[in-house]
Homo-oligomer: 116 residues x 2
Amino acid sequence: MTYAKTAAFTEEQQQLSRVAKALAHPARVAIIQFLAAQKTCISGDIAAELPLSRTTVSQHLQELKALDLIRGEIDGLTVCYCLNTELLQRVHQQFTAFFIEATSGAACGPDDACAC
Amino acid sequence: MTYAKTAAFTEEQQQLSRVAKALAHPARVAIIQFLAAQKTCISGDIAAELPLSRTTVSQHLQELKALDLIRGEIDGLTVCYCLNTELLQRVHQQFTAFFIEATSGAACGPDDACAC
DNA sequence: GAAGTATGTCGCAAATATACGACATTGAAT
DNA sequence: ATTCAATGTCGTATATTTGCGACATACTTC
């Protein structure tokens, strides 16, 4: 993102938006859910489960891997992808902190200047 | 999103990714944090707080408003934007459910076929 | 080593997002 | 009424995302 003015924002804000962007496509949400549902680490027949071409799924996997949300180990001919649960837990905490900050703040009440 | 194949995914997955996309830009994260920090509803001098032009900030506000994450009431000359805290709480629950699903699943352990 | 399979990478086309200046609109103030 | 300030909208340029076919790579198997 050299064009977007992301550098002008807090590292915290950038971090949150980076992860949010990773979840900003239903295919990537589906991939994470699929990996969570699998007991055994599953290779790229993830593509068979999704309504997308193998190439496109591979790209989505790369995006998730770039953020280290998932990891892939080459096991002979197939690649075994798994969730990085530790990172996901940290991310979960980040999101929770954000949402708490957003929801605990005094919303515009009836005693406020405006009444939204 | 007529081109993207979002329709092929679960409504749940689409919903989550829609909100994630709304948070996928640091400016929008900053806007929500700013609104949360303000006691009184604040109008578009949000733009003054961000390293972006007024036009661009207005666009980001429209995106958040389109998802109903924020609301804007016209108060004379200025517009008063506030967070939709009820919706934010619901969204928070959705994200939490997703992350719990993602982190509680059995990660690739040492007794698994692969060892990521 | 040759053939087959599972993956990743490259390159392209179409769609979206980002950013902003110029203009229109609307209410306030003189 | 006229001027001014606060906003939103439009048009446009650039960057990024999405999606996929064609190719390259790598490992297995025969």
